[in-house]
Each structure stands twice: as structure tokens, then as C-alpha cells.
Symmetry: D2
Subunit: 139 residues, 4 copies
Amino acid sequence: MARITTFSVDVHFGDCDPAGIVFFPNFSRWMDAASLSFFMQCGVQPWRVLEKTRGIVGTPLLEIHTRFIKSVTYGETIVIHTQVEEWRDKVFIQHHRVTRSDELICEGRETRVFVKRDAVDPDRLRAIAVPEDIRARCT
Amino acid sequence: MARITTFSVDVHFGDCDPAGIVFFPNFSRWMDAASLSFFMQCGVQPWRVLEKTRGIVGTPLLEIHTRFIKSVTYGETIVIHTQVEEWRDKVFIQHHRVTRSDELICEGRETRVFVKRDAVDPDRLRAIAVPEDIRARCT
Amino acid sequence: MARITTFSVDVHFGDCDPAGIVFFPNFSRWMDAASLSFFMQCGVQPWRVLEKTRGIVGTPLLEIHTRFIKSVTYGETIVIHTQVEEWRDKVFIQHHRVTRSDELICEGRETRVFVKRDAVDPDRLRAIAVPEDIRARCT
Amino acid sequence: MARITTFSVDVHFGDCDPAGIVFFPNFSRWMDAASLSFFMQCGVQPWRVLEKTRGIVGTPLLEIHTRFIKSVTYGETIVIHTQVEEWRDKVFIQHHRVTRSDELICEGRETRVFVKRDAVDPDRLRAIAVPEDIRARCT
């Protein structure tokens, strides 16, 4: 069974819009934080360390798909349950379930890829194969 | 053919992350702005006006699906091309193509619904049928 | 002595800019969350409840003044120590000290005012005297 | 007389909070964009270019001081009028006046410093003297 980590978010006033509910791009922001937290809870170092030791800059997104089921407002706490659903050669699918107590709030799938900077043009980010040791730590 | 509006975004330093590229939730933020801009360019009033005259609070998301093709950095300008791809009874699908000159940067589909506040519990938002007059203006 | 509450923030990748450090408006965002957290830790209800029971919409800012001493990056945790430094008739000064372990990271003063919606034009927010009972709870 | 540039902002739904007005840290975000826009309108290249050619990473903040006079909501456009009020040896004071038509919305002063990465520890940012050529372009 895949490893699942949890990541807790206290929702703040400034996260909400004039309708009084969370402005939805914040869910993507929190899922991104949950994604890195997943790796760090599995013992992987933050990207700023990996960039120096191994050239890995991060895991940018190729695709996201999110379903919003219930709205949330400030003063509430939500929990994000994160796992890697599928490891392929070059990409992996991360899945996030966001809950408030027992209720499902929203659910997202992210397709991500590990990248390094190009040797010649460091502004270019190049996809690399999923590092075996990182995958091993996270399963 | 469906009506298409455009919405221009100048990318700023603070929109970018430590990898030097746009932090992806900002694309959702800009698509949301392009979504409202679509309606306003079609002659629909902003939600804060419609809330008073007709009780319509906005068009929250049920689902988003975004593909990221190329990265963008600050000092660059992107354009979002927005249309309603499909009108159903209660929901509509809005499609956004994000370009930088001739390049496709990313592409997103949003499933949205018009909502009013519940008469008894104003904290509850209730989906309504797509208003005919708004649909007529936007086609 | 004034009551001091603490509010903890885990800094995320997306909070940082291309220089690799926290994009400074996020400190204002976190101080705002620490401000409301101060009131809630003192037993005051969130604004969305007070709006219904007493018409109080929140405590918008009249002025902010922030000094940045050290930079912070993602993967680090900071703590915000919040107090009301001064209560006047209509405004109050909230002070935030942001620390990382023993280091002072930044420091901010906010001048805030309690507001209600205008009875005739609800889009207008009107300053009210600092509510005595709220002040009493927070001292 | 100091050179003044302008920078226009269309306020979006997601920039506003449950009180229906701009969440104030967004003003800092827009002033930061206006700050860089000031330099670029004066003919200075964006930091990501200067980082490569001259090692200059940006102009982080030492201090901000902002007064909020009127609130703004979405669907409105504001203009930021930016100038450098004072050049000192190592720091400069940038001043932003934010207006909506003829009304003053808010006003901010930023103390900023040019920085390079430390030669030994690139994670450290070091203040440098204000570059003469940049100052000359901006006056």
C-alpha cells in the first residue's frame, strides 16, 4: 500500500473571497505545499538542498485535475492526505484528499516531473527520470 | 461559433517561485480573473452588483483541469483566450488557452455553476439553473 | 502587561520568490492571520460570526509599518508574537514580532479599526469605537 | 524633479476578502511590481538578466510604511505612481501613490537595497552600494 502523509492547514480570512469561502487557487497552493511535505516526511531534503547536491530544482506540474465538493471558510482546519498514486519512468501522479473532520472537501491529482537545470542554458529546466533512491524512500 | 474574449497578464517577480518560473496556482488565479472578465466583456455586471439585484453571488468551481506546457517568467506578458465551451442546464464549461506570442503556455477547463445564497441559511450557496439572459449575452 | 499570543507559520516553496526568500507581502498576510488569531485566542469569535450577531465585519488596516531584518526560506518555521500595544478610542495598534528560534526576522505595527457596514449603504464600512467587551477580553 | 512612472492594476475578485474589499497585502504585492516596473521603464533590465550579467539579484525591502485611505473592490482600476524619493549610498526610498481616478487610495514608502549573492555562500544576499549607472538612468 502506498505511503500517505498528512498536512494540516488553518484557513485564514485572507484565503477567502467576497463570497466568504476559500478562493480556489489556494487549494492548489496548499496541495503544492502538501506535495513537498510528502517528500520531506519521507526523508527527502528540500529542493534548495537537492539543487546544490544533485541539481534537482523541484517537481513542476504537467497537469492538475481538481474536484471541489464542499466549500470551506476561515477559522476552519482542513487536512490534506497525500500519496503518490503512480510512479512512471519520467512522471509521477500525486493524489491529495482534502478533508474537514470526516467530510471530503476536495480532491486533486497532479502529474509532476523531476527537473534539473540544463547544463548549457540554466534557464531551461529539463525533465529527468524519477530518481530511484527518492522513489524508494517514498513507497 | 462561441464568443472568445482575451485577457492580458503581465507576469511579475512575486508571481514566480524559487525555480524562477510562475508558481502554478497563479495560472488558476488568472484564469479566474479571465472568467469574470469574459462575462463583463459580454455585458454582464460584476457579481457584487448581481448579488444585490438578483442574488447571484458568483460562479464557483466544481472542477478544474489544467495542462502546463511551457514555463513563463517575470517581465513576460501572456494572453488568456476564454470561451464557454459548453452550456448545460446547471453548469457550464469554460475553456482558457494561455499564450505567449504564438506559443501555447497552458490550457485549462473549468466546470462552474451559478449560485445564490440560501434563503434560510445565507452561509449556504445553492446552485441555480444557468440564467437564460446571461447565457444569451455570452453566446 | 499586555497579553501576547503566538502564531506559527511553516514557510512553503510557493511563499518564496526567485531570490529564494519569502516574498515580503506574505509577511503582511501572516501578520493579518496572527491578528485575527490573537482575537480568537482571547475568546473573540471570528468576524463572520460577529457580523451576524453584532454587525462587526472585521478590523481593516489604516496603516502598517514593517521592518525586515533577516530573510527566511521554505522548510523553515517562524513564530509570530502578537499583542495590542495601545488601545485608543477608535483605533488600536497591534504589534507583531516574527522570530525563527531566537532570531528576530521582522517586526510590524498595524493601526486597525473595528468597522460595521453602513445602515443605508452596506458597501460602506464605518469605523466604530473599540468595543469595550472585546478590549476587556484582550488585555 | 524626480522621474515618476505609472503602473495600472485591474482589481480582481480573488484580490478581495470576505469584507468585499482588497485584501491589503495585495497592495504591497502591486507596489513591488510597480517598483520593478519603475526600473524597467527607466531602461534597467529585469533582475534575472542583471543576475547573470552583474550578479544583482534584486532590491529586497528593509522597511515598508503604508497608509490606507480608501478601500477598493473588484472591477475597479487603480494606478500606482512611483518615484525614488531619496537615494542614499546603500539604500533608496521608493514612494508609491495609489489612485482611483482623482482619489488617493493608499500611499507607501519602501526602503530598499540592491543585493548580490555572497561569493562564498550564495544563499547569503549582500547589500551593495547603489549602482551609479542605474541611479543615473532613474533620475
